[in-house]
Symmetry: C2
Subunit: 346 residues, 2 copies
DNA sequence: CCTTGTTCGGAAAGCGGTTTCGTCGATTTC
DNA sequence: GAAATCGACGAAACCGCTTTCCGAACAAGG
């Protein structure tokens, strides 16, 4: 049915090796035979088999994509999906396709043996999204010879790198802005899920508050179970129930913020007049809440693009481990009170 | 470095074929050798090469995912991403991994030669998302021997199938609801992009209106360029400028609806008091608009899951072409006026 | 005219699996 | 007790491509 390299060779009246060399742009072929063979390949619609090539060369032009960790991140995650989109685009420009591991029947020592899956497909590299380095399945891969880059998770292997927003700065920007608006009692809604980024956000927030000489009141620091709306709602409820409220709250994700605002609204506490709120991620929905949610925008496009570039470098130049951190941006809308007619400024 | 089947055979003191048979669960191997070899594979961390297996068997356990067409659909699309998520999950249960074609350097007669890419990777099947059958790159694939299933696009090839919501019913449900609420002047915001689903939605809408004996006023039917917010805004602006407004509008996507509501708000036309709005898709943001957007929910989880199941069937039972249509659901929130204190009912 | 280089192209050995046969000893059948 | 059957395993061809090495042909150099 489908032709192989031998067929092409026969039709062209040359050897298999000649055809192969043409496919791979070797210089040792005369222009004449080259164009003749090329034309035949064109006419017959010949497509070389990637499996055979991979078998022979040990490079597959495939990049593995792993949604790591127990955060249950998947295609529906508003942040990662944009990162992924830009990653895919850039990786495509560089000549790679993407493979997503989903096969549940794949068994090779535990179900999440990422390393095994990577070897199975002979991926040239892989990107890990939002997990924790500590998981054995992750660190195993991290420490292998397969180039890996982590998005929003630190990787330390010899052939690994990572990229994330400057999560410390995310928080310090928020504190600065709150301070500028005159708020002195600052609260925080995070997540109990241990992860590099949530740790950095929280510590950045606490440290910056202290550096401004403001009090850190533990009553105003609550954690939801995860980063989703329900957690934000529930966390805010708890804070309200505690009887003491800060003047402004930073939520570690927009979804947490949206949940928190819902709780606030239910208790007739107005945002931003009674308590100001800033979220994080700038998901689409944040533009449509009432009040519109002020937030921190991460440069998702850039993160994805750089992730691809870093991985490419790791693959092709066996370069050293590298880490990139990208600048966050404060998006001022309504929920933080910047635009209040009678602002609390100064 | 990494062991191959020959190494395992040598260590175990058996032949390569024996190992292979064990990997593939052939029955003709004694329990004794089987467990011995299995243990060795376990201990050494042996991982079989998929390329070699694919080369030999012509099955890769890989499903190609193609964002087809010029609609520019990608990971950030709120509807397809959820379908994809559920598709991936189900496909994984069935033992398949997913490959996304992004490689821009892949050239084999035009850049979007999907069929060539499928052959290149020897995918067992593929899913096409949101394109038009007419594009040559699509129909070529559709008519090949590769099992394909289309999501939100019709496919007619011998080894193809498709699945989508009942788009006609989507519209008729909206009309029915509007009618029930007492609205008699009904408008529509669609997209000029030709596609199976937009055609069906519009014709369903028009036909149902007529079947209720209501007038179809062309002034109230406008199309944005695509399905995104800006188009909805701009289309609504045009309708307003035309001087005549319907009492209720169905927008063919939530994003169109959100854009339309923005235009309405800017012109101080209140929703739903002056004009009621219903969107389509139930994207996350629709819960956070003011007023909250009533919409049609498509069963994305089911669509994705069935797509996977249909494809599996196509692959393994070379069954006939099949088409599935899934039931839409009306989600009543605020923008349609159902909950008005002083409803326009009856 | 012989040697030395170049250029172009082919032969063949892998790459790591699968699968068809065939072998061989042990068991059953008559 | 000979023949047929069966169970467990191995030999080897094959899948489609890459790459090393070699050879032929021809040009240039001495």
């Amino acid at each position: 049915m489908s032709l192989n390299i031998k067929d092409i060779a026969k039709i062209a009246g040359v050897s298999v090796s000649t055809v192969s060399k043409i496919i791979n742009n070797y210089s040792e072929i005369s222009e004449e035979t080259r164009s003749k063979v090329l034309q035949i390949m064109q006419e017959t619609g010949y497509v070389p088999s990637n499996s055979a090539k991979t078998l022979a060369t040990k490079t597959s032009n495939l990049i593995g994509v792993i949604f790591a960790g127990k955060l249950n991140v998947d295609f529906t995650h508003p942040f990662f999906v944009e990162v992924l989109n830009s990653f895919k685009k850039q990786m495509g420009l560089l000549g790679y396709d993407l493979v997503f591991f989903s096969n549940e029947k794949f068994q090779s020592g535990g179900n999440n043996d990422y390393l095994a899956r990577c070897r199975h497909y002979h991926v040239d590299g892989c990107v890990l999204i939002s997990g924790q380095e500590l998981e054995p399945s992750i660190s195993q891969l991290d420490n292998s010879d397969i180039p890996c880059i982590g998005v929003d998770m630190k990787l330390s292997g010899r052939s690994s790198g990572y990229i994330m927003s400057d999560n410390y700065k995310i928080s310090s920007k928020v504190v600065e802005h709150f301070y500028l608006l005159g708020y002195r009692e600052l609260g925080y809604i995070g997540s109990t899920q241990e992860s590099d980024i949530s740790n950095m956000r929280e510590s950045g927030y606490r440290n910056t508050i202290e550096s401004f000489g403001l009090p850190v009141n533990e009553k105003w620091f609550v954690n939801g179970g995860n980063f989703y709306e329900a957690s934000g709602y529930e966390a805010m409820r708890r804070m309200i129930a505690s009887g003491s409220l800060p003047r402004a709250i930073f939520a570690a994700s927009d979804q947490l913020a949206i949940g928190a605002m819902r709780a606030l609204k239910e208790c007739s506490l107005s945002v931003p007049e009674t308590v100001a709120v800033i979220g994080c991620d700038d998901i689409e929905a944040s533009r449509f809440t009432t009040p519109q949610l002020s937030t921190i925008r991460q440069n998702k496009e850039k993160i994805g693009r750089l992730a691809a570039l870093m991985l490419y470098d790791l693959i092709n130049n066996q370069s050293e481990t590298s880490a990139f951190v990208v600048e966050p941006e404060l998006i001022i809308r309504e929920s933080c009170g910047s635009k209040l007619k009678d602002p609390p400024y100064y």
